[in-house]
Amino acid sequence: MTAPRTVTAAASPGPGPGPGPARRGWRAPSVIPGFGPTLGITLGYLGLVVLIPLAALVWRSTELGAAAFWDLARDPRTLAALRTSFGAALIAAGVNAVFGALVAWVLVRYRFAGRRLLDAVVDLPFALPTAVAGIALAALYGPQGWLGKPLAALGIQVAYAPAGIVVALVFVGLPFVVRTLQPVIAEIDREWEEAAASLGARRAQTVRRVIAPSLLPAWATGFALALARGVGEYGSVIFIAGNLPHVSEIAPLLIVIKLEEFNYPAATAVGVMMLSISFALLLVINLLQAWNRRRLTDAR
């Protein structure tokens, strides 16, 4: 209640229609200038760069026709590739959710030698070309690699197996989880932990029942972003995946294969399938979050 009112206003739904000279119906009046130009730039740019090209994608996929689209969607190879992509991305996002949260916690809460270096390294997957990452990871986790050799001795094969896909996707998705959680952890009120302790909660109980739930929304966002990114990842995966059909063939590779067959409609159709699934995932998580925010704050 002490928050500046503008923030409260931002959380409330848009105004209903009403009389008055300052009203335009679909937006709340504001004295702050620049609405027209900035929204214009935003929509224009989004339209040109994102919407029109994606519309072209969808349009091209319709050339396939509904029946063929349906056949493609049911094709075991397509299904297997989608399963591999989403499965690996899910596992990787799960790994990232756990370890990314741990990394974020350690980076925010503790002071230790090398912290800044680790903090910097987290951005690495954004900077390193995915192909280089894939090559480096394949070298590292291959049977002769620094990590692959000891793992192989334990009978664990990472590179050229589905596990390799997961490794590449962990690499690619980690910054999304860490960077989403870091500011939220920094914001956690120390007094919550103290309050829980003064109420008799042991540390583990405090972490499980107080800290974890308060991180949940950001956690979900990080997870969703890592997942969405992982599903589409191509460059780093093909070097380490093995690419065997039905086993370690990812959906983006399937797109490439369709393209090699000059089958644009099928390629775009697979693309549209992936896009709609991951967009739906993102949307669901966003809606859940919006619902959760409303649940926690809306006065009744």
Binding site: E191, E194, A195, A196, A197, S198, G200, Q205, P213, A299
Partner: protein, 408 residues
Amino acid sequence: MDVRIDHVRKEFGRFAALDDTSLTIHDGELVALLGPSGSGKTTLLRVLAGLERPSAGRILFGDQDAASLSVQERNIGFVFQHYALFKHMTVLDNVAFGLSVCPARRRPPRAEIAARARRLLALVQIDGLDRRYPDQLSGGQRQRVALARALATDPRVLLLDEPFGALDARVRKDLRHWLRGFHDRTGHTTVFVTHDQDEALELADRVVVMNAGRVEQVADPDTLYDRPASPFVFAFIGDSSSLPATVRAGRLWVAGRALGPVPAADGPVRLFFRPHHARLADTGALVGRVVASRRQGDRRRLDVALRPDAPSDAPSDAPPDAPSDAAGPPHSADLPRPGDAPAASTPVEIDVATDAAPPVGASIRFDITRPSLFPAPAAPRRPIVVAPRPGTALAPPGPKPDRAHAAG
């Protein structure tokens, strides 16, 4: 069970936030920690709760040394200034938290926990809001949830850090009132922190005045208000004005005029008085001009600039060796000169009845019915004159004080 704080010291780096603090809190008492910002109030509370470890000294719960007890084991109810409610839990879950995390063998069954939490919510009079989340509550409601949550584990001591600090003036007043009643009904040993003297005086059985990491005075509200132990307490508790003054030959001189005989040794002193201990009188010893006037509740408060150079009409009982001119008594090099510039330039505050208030700009005369003298600054802090009880007002002989002003 009493709580004893025994020569506790708490350092942050080089800085001592608490400096040799001792205090006993009696069973069932409602104690206020009062002091300016940074005086160590929160630190003391946190040391009590076990959220900080003392650098030296001991905390005793009854006969038990608290040093070996973790926060969890102390069984303390702590209400944080900004409540620290768990945002993602409903009001009911917040209140039930303490019970639901206690070790399985002592934990009541689920239904019993919920029932107890509901009873507590009824106790703090916000039943019916169980299913809300903290962000859906007003400040005052949150305050009560925090209290209910702290009470759920049946704590030995209840600690509240500025429980009303974040609330509206009006809500603050209501809750203050409510908390006192609540304490009277339930009888928990309670310590609360505040920097609002009205709140401390109104609520607490005893008030601990803290300053710079030390306890300045511990007393009940009346004693604190009527017989402050130091200039700091005088100035901090209640409104007051202070003036440099001099005692010469058993008489008090202020702003170039003699006020009357005082039982104090000669030398520079500092005179303190409260606004309502001033009394307008045509024959008043102090002369000044009203520079501001404002409504304050049922009276008017005047800012009065003293005029050291105004001719004194008071019966001349100035010491014989004092010249009667504007310069006041002759000053020696080591004494501040009575009637010095500060006295004239910083106005003093006096209260008058609304229907008797002189307009701004008017020249007035007034007496001080109950002055307190403390040594001039940079000397030890004990008062050298305990102010006489009202009725023996320190004022030059004259007509009896108008009681309307004296008591107002």
